[in-house]
Amino acid sequence: MLNDSACPTPELTECFRKMLLIRYFEEALSDLFSRNMVGGTSHFCIGQEACAVGVVSAGQPDDVIVSNHRGHGHLLARGLDPMRVMAELLGRKTGYCGGRGGSQHMCAMDLAFLGTNGITGGGIPIATGAAFALKYQERPQIVIAFFGDGASNQGTFHESLNMASLWKLPVLYVCENNLYGMSISVSSSVASGTVAARAPAYNMPASSCDGMDILAVRDHAAPLIEHVRSGAGPALLELHTYRYCGHSKNDARLYRTREEEAEWHSRDCLDQAANLLRERGISQAEIDAIKQAVNVDIERIVDEASQQPYGDQDHALGGVYA
């Protein structure tokens, strides 16, 4: 798909840069894990970068975003300061949530980012409630709610889509279908085969597309966003994508084949975007320069974040009640 008018080259270049930022950021995070510099666990979105960047770039900068446990891509696509995201992952006080939230509980209200969420499907009703408030307050923004195929089997998905449709709430539900909810495959867990097939039951429009193709994501997101913003009610977008890594950091990926992984790697979103840029006359040297600049940024981000202070006991024990 080559649609210059929907995505002018400077915008496509910016999308490419953001996808690179997400990938290099998570690769750096993975390295920090291997050096025992990060606690707990983390859910990488490497492979899925076009989903976050494509949908967020198709919306407005003040549209409200609600994310899930695999949220680093959404955070960076929205434009949070990567250093403060990394500081949060490293548990530092200057991180977005002061080290209290970490990977799965990070928000930035000043950027209308209502938070990543550690409960599968837990963010879907919150996104629906945020849309309820936007409509109640007669504000022009919409909500973009990211979740995975696994969350679409939670009651909250079905209950929330039902209410959002009945009440014509301004929310775009975005399912990043990466084929596995931890280890269970979509074919073993989603009776309808696809998540988009569930939308007609809730009387809302849906579409699905290749989530490895940044232009396809933008092209499919844009009309649904327009539908939602017009006040006509919610919509559902299903993006077919793949996480290259395991579910979390301790996953040997026994439930899928290396051949399947290779097939998805061959359609890598960054490679596809680089090809598009070359087709539009961007030279390999320019592309390499973008990569080099992001790499330098990441080194600085990790370096700065690693030097941030931890909170003290008062910070750990205070602030439970408003």
């Binding site: 209290r100 009703p125 629906t128 909250t156």
Partner: protein
């Protein structure tokens, strides 16, 4: 303000209704959500008349989807609304526990103060003669020990009105426990504007010999027990805990410091109950003053049987309280 004579007692349910009415009128960001709260007026008639007065925008009737409509309230609260959610029977709150536990109670802390969640979950707990195992339980103790939420369980019409108004105005999530039996009890309620503090116990009756700590529908039963002992010259203090989280440690310690004897009374199961927490506070604060072991009276650790004739064996009775008072006096 309500158009009625201040000298006429009103039903507990009407006091709740007045609090909702006044807060809806006062603050456009207050929105009611729940099942059958519209023309039906709520399963127990608590929201009667409000739909006609404020319309569908302010009273959002929901499908039967407890977990998600509580989650909707959380999201709406994060964006500046003040949702007041009704859970028809407290037993059904199990369906919404995830959003109360993992979202409402944690967001302010885990998002480092960037958001607050000013919402109220109103729900009637307790048994009322035959509703059976899934419609009768007092689940108050489930919510004590979830940091970030407040838990309130008033016992009188006057208290429920002032406390609900405070709960709606509070910037934190509040689990507000009403009671099916209390709905039909009447009490004097001021006609003027008033709010009551969410974290203060109320001394319902002053006494010197033993303190009964109770909340919700057990308070009037404790007051009756107090009266029954008066003829025998036993002076009982009744403390209405009101706030189950946080517990009012100062009032608990002050009372037992004077009486030296305590019985904790509640409709929830004894095991893991609020009374156990009160007893622990007394052990921590009042060891030197105690004249007898702290005793607990509550529901037996048994589901609430449907037959009213069986139900009465499961629930704590006035006689159970009398026996506990005698035991602590005779120690």
């Amino acid at each position: 303000m309500p158009d009625r004579d201040a000298a006429d007692p009103i039903y507990f349910s009407k006091a709740v209704n007045e609090a909702l009415d006044e807060e809806l009128a006062r603050d456009a960001s207050v929105v009611l959500m729940g099942e059958d709260i519209g023309v039906y007026g709520g399963a127990f008639g608590v929201t009667r008349g409000l739909y006609e007065k404020y319309g569908p925008k302010r009273l959002q009737e929901t499908p039967i989807s407890e977990n998600s409509f509580v989650g909707v309230a959380v999201g709406a609260a994060m964006m500046g609304l003040k949702p007041v959610v009704e859970i028809m029977f407290m037993d059904f709150i199990a369906l919404a526990l995830d959003q109360i536990l993992n979202s409402a109670g944690k967001l302010h802390y885990m998002y480092n103060g960037q958001v607050s969640v000013p919402m109220v979950v109103r729900t009637p707990g307790g048994a009322k003669g035959g509703y059976g195992p899934s419609h009768s339980q007092m689940l108050s103790s489930l919510f004590v020990g979830i940091p970030g939420i407040k838990v309130v369980a008033p016992s009188t019409a006057a208290a429920v009105k002032g406390l609900l108004k405070s709960a709606i105005r509070d910037p934190n999530p509040v689990v507000f426990i009403e009671n099916k039996r209390l709905y039909a009890q009447r009490g004097d309620v001021p006609t003027g504007e008033y709010c009551l503090p969410l974290d203060k116990a109320i001394v319902s009756a002053k006494g010197q010999d033993v303190t009964l700590f109770a909340y919700s529908a057990m308070v009037p039963i404790c007051l009756a027990v107090k009266d029954s002992f008066a003829a025998a010259g036993v002076s009982i203090e009744v403390v209405d805990l009101v706030s189950l989280q946080p517990l009012d440690r100062a009032t608990i310690a002050e009372s037992v410091g004077r009486t030296g004897r305590a019985v904790c009374v509640e409709e929830a199961c004894v095991t893991g109950g609020v009374g156990a927490e009160v007893a622990a506070i007394i052990a921590e604060e009042c060891m030197d003053c105690l004249e007898a072991p702290v005793l607990r009276v509550g529901a037996k650790d048994v589901p609430i049987a449907a037959s009213p004739e069986l139900e009465k064996f499961v629930l704590p009775s006035a006689n159970d309280i009398v026996r506990a008072v005698r035991r602590t006096l005779e120690w």
